[in-house]
């Protein structure tokens, strides 16, 4: 069964460092998303991406964050200068279409900022 793949499963970094989280969405999907979940809190939307551009972003997704689809299979989330409060699980998701279509999630990357 097709699945969303995320790497690494756990990333430890020092405050102020740049990190790149990687995702391989399901191959025939056109819409890509990043969400995060701080320990013990709700899953929160960060950004959606379609046709090589951001289609929607939340207030959390400030100038420190960027997304990219560098090739036909990968989708990345970059955090330029990490802060302690960026520590969370980051989930990538993909869907065939928008608006009511099912989003399938990866297993997540646990980001620990020290």
């Amino acid at each position: 069964e097709p699945e969303v793949t995320q790497t690494p499963s756990h990333q430890v970094t020092q405050m102020g460092q740049e990190v790149i989280l990687r995702c391989v969405p399901i191959s025939n999907h056109l819409y890509f998303y990043w969400y995060r979940q701080i320990l013990g809190q709700k899953v929160e939307f960060l950004v959606s991406f379609y046709n090589n551009e951001i289609s929607e972003k939340s207030e959390i997704f400030d100038d420190q964050f960027s997304v990219e689809r560098p090739d036909g299979s990968n989708f990345t989330l970059k955090i330029r200068s990490t802060k302690l409060e960026d520590s969370a699980m980051y989930f990538c998701a993909s869907s065939e279409r928008t608006g009511g279509n099912i989003q399938y999630f990866g297993a997540g990357t646990r980001l620990s900022v020290l």
Binding site: Y31, E44, S48, G108
Partner: protein
């Protein structure tokens, strides 16, 4: 503001003891309501999507229903392997039609 509230926060059941989880929502226009299962340290796993009031979906011991204000996830004769956090999420229209707005989840523990 679009909002999703789930209750109870936590639920402990004996194996075979049926129960229901609640998800109440306030959105400008519902494009879809989604139920996911999340195991510790894992990503949300899709269970059901519902689009209009009166709709019902069923899978093994789980049944999801939808009204204009809330959704229920009914668990019939649960087994220990049903233990997980169950997440409800909505997609709203026309604003934010892509993003899923999640509730805080219900942590279900089923004991033998």
């Amino acid at each position: 503001e679009d909002q999703v509230t789930q209750s109870p926060e936590a639920l402990r059941l004996q194996e075979g003891e049926s129960s229901s989880l609640n998800c109440s929502y306030t959105v400008s226009g519902l494009r879809g309501l989604f139920w996911y299962r999340q195991d510790p340290g894992k990503g949300p796993e899709f269970l059901f999507t519902l689009y209009s009031a009166g709709e019902e979906k069923e899978k093994e011991r789980l049944k999801a229903t939808l009204t204009k204000k809330e959704s229920f996830l009914h668990i019939t004769a649960p087994k220990p392997e049903d233990s997980a956090t169950y997440l409800c999420a909505v997609q709203a229209a026309p604003r934010g039609y892509n993003k899923l707005i999640f509730g805080a989840g219900t942590r279900l523990a089923v004991h033998p």
